[in-house]
């Protein structure tokens, strides 16, 4: 059995494991709208406040 075949099998094993056992796992959650909003707000506050302070 060649290494490529072995690796192909390993890839398939991993894909099957992920599809079967991890599809509902939070590790694969999409980035939520609320997290994105909070994240962007934090960035905007830091950048905006820095800009405002430098303009004083």
């Amino acid at each position: 059995m060649s290494q490529n075949t072995e690796l192909d099998q390993e890839l398939e094993r991993r894909l099957v494991e992920i599809e079967a056992e991890e599809a509902n796992d939070a590790i694969h959650a999409a980035l939520g709208g609320r997290t994105i909003a909070v994240f962007l707000a934090a960035v905007a506050v830091i950048a905006g406040a820095s800009w405002a302070v430098s303009a004083l």
Binding site: R14, L15, A23, A30, L40, S50, V53, S54
Partner: protein, 492 residues
């Protein structure tokens, strides 16, 4: 017995190859292999950010602006630059647990990723690696000068010798994979925070805060607004410069929030801490590099110990950035490097940095230009990726399709190249360089209000959405609109 032994050895060899490929390859990671929580990833990113390059970034910032404005430009540039970077790399790889450049097949196509890797990514990361080598070389040359009174030139051949030594050590660490890098970072990151605090205390023990706040910028232009925006742009470039490595590291994390906040927050905190020291040193001592002033300020014992620590921290940073890049090279080279051992590919990657270390002054003198030029392309890349992943795909990437080849590949685009993506990157990067040319320092009036990164990123997004719709989406190509296999993930 011999036969059994041979078979056993052969089987072990194949298993070792599989394990190696799983560690170093493009195979998707399963949950048990994704070992980093937000804390682990934060330490990794802090230790990366706090490396000596951040001192140089601080020192370059105060060429244009004073200390207070320097802090403002640092906060503005890094917060926005890192946010664009995180959305353009971390989120995609984290969700599917796949190395960054395999995941980016969904954006650029399998051949298109290779074009990106072998141009933008490879040159950028080789530049950073050589810079770290030279910084290591300068640190140890200074140690030699202070400890043994040798009087070596800090841009001379001894720097090259030590830089080559750093590259050799980096190669050894790199050859042992991400677990070794992670273990080293757990020790190096907290130590670096202490060291940076110590440096700031040393600096301010010799200078007053009033002097620091009143110190004029080192080499500004006449137009203060232009100086401010150039400093913001430079820090945007510094934030974006993490793009080539972050996705691959983020795939080891256990959740999207851990990945995004730890990558952005860790890099931001580390950068801010080290850059403040670099700015203060640049303004008060005329040189941001601690290798120049640490021993005179800290005394021979503390100074040398600090430089030793900083020097070796450069090596862990070098290994961390090289890891992602070598992985990218291996994955995008197809079968060409399939049978080449990991440590040999690592060695190949380090050849150009080793050559560049023979010209230690070069990276110092061209540091700002290097950061800005790479930022022009990375801003465009991020714009395209954000548009594709968040707007077109709505965070849904078909995992199996990333590994499908040939005519069955639903993300084949045009012969393996997403023409819309590459054209958008090229046009947007050119647009950036039109707004702000980092070589001639010419700017358009627009630059003083918008920077070059923000309009270039926005153009990349808009242009990509239009071109990609015309070329692929409206024809049903590119696997857009597929069902989300992880739709239920994270729902309670």
């Amino acid at each position: 017995m011999g036969g059994v032994g041979t078979v056993s050895a052969s089987k072990k060899s194949v298993e070792a190859a599989v394990a190696e490929e799983a560690t170093y390859g493009a195979l998707p990671l399963t949950k048990k292999e994704r070992v980093w929580g937000a804390g682990d990833f934060s330490w990794v990113t802090i230790s990366l950010a706090i490396a000596t390059w951040a001192f140089l970034t601080g020192g370059s910032t105060v060429l244009l602006v004073g200390f207070t404005d320097g802090i403002a430009t640092m906060l503005i540039g890094n917060s926005i630059g890192l946010a664009i970077m995180a959305f353009g790399s971390v989120v995609l790889s984290q969700r599917i647990g796949v190395e960054q450049y395999r995941a980016l097949k969904s954006v650029f196509g399998i051949v298109g990723v290779g074009i990106v890797v072998f141009t933008i990514v490879l040159l950028t990361e080789m530049g950073w690696t050589s810079l770290l080598g030279v910084l290591f070389g300068r640190a140890f040359t200074e140690i030699s000068n202070q400890a043994f009174g040798t009087g070596f030139d800090t841009y001379g051949p001894i720097v090259t010798v030590f830089a080559l030594l750093a590259i050799l050590i980096g190669w050894i660490v790199l050859s042992r994979g991400p677990v070794t890098i992670s273990k080293l970072n757990r020790f190096v990151a907290p130590g670096l925070i202490v060291v940076v605090g110590f440096m700031m205390v040393m600096l301010m023990s010799q200078n007053s805060w009033a002097d620091l706040l009143a110190a004029p910028p080192v080499a500004p232009f006449e137009d203060e607004q232009l100086n401010f925006m150039m400093a913001v742009e430079f820090n945007l470039g510094a934030g974006l410069s993490w793009w080539p490595v972050m996705g691959t590291l983020a795939r080891l994390t256990r959740g999207p929030r851990a990945a995004v906040w730890a990558s952005w927050g860790g890099l931001f905190i580390g950068t801010v801490l080290a850059q403040i020291v670099g700015m203060a040193a640049g303004l008060m001592l005329g040189d941001p590099d601690p290798t120049v002033w640490m021993v005179p300020l800290g005394g021979p014992i503390l100074g040398i110990l600090t430089l030793l620590f900083v020097g070796f921290a450069n090596v862990t940073s070098m290994a961390s950035i090289a890891y992602s890049t070598v992985l990218a090279v291996k994955q995008t080279s197809g079968r060409a490097l399939a049978k080449v051992k990991w440590k040999h590919i690592c060695a190949g990657f380090l050849v150009l940095p080793a050559i560049l270390s023979f010209f230690p002054a070069f990276m110092y003198e061209q540091f700002m230009t290097f950061v800005l030029l790479s930022g022009a392309f990375i801003a465009a890349l991020c714009g395209v990726i954000i548009a594709d992943y968040f707007i077109l795909r709505k965070q849904r990437v078909p995992l199996r399709a990333l590994y499908t080849e040939g005519k069955d590949d639903p993300m084949r685009f045009t012969g393996g190249v997403n023409i819309a993506a590459l054209v958008s990157v090229a046009v947007s990067a050119a647009f950036y360089l039109w707004i702000y040319n980092p070589i001639t320092l010419e700017t358009l009036p627009l630059f003083q209000y918008t920077t070059a990164t923000l309009p270039a990123t926005a153009l990349a997004m808009v242009l990509y959405l239009v071109l990609n719709w015309l070329l692929y989406v409206r024809r049903g190509d590119g696997a857009y609109g597929v069902p989300d296999m992880f739709a239920a993930a994270g729902r309670k």
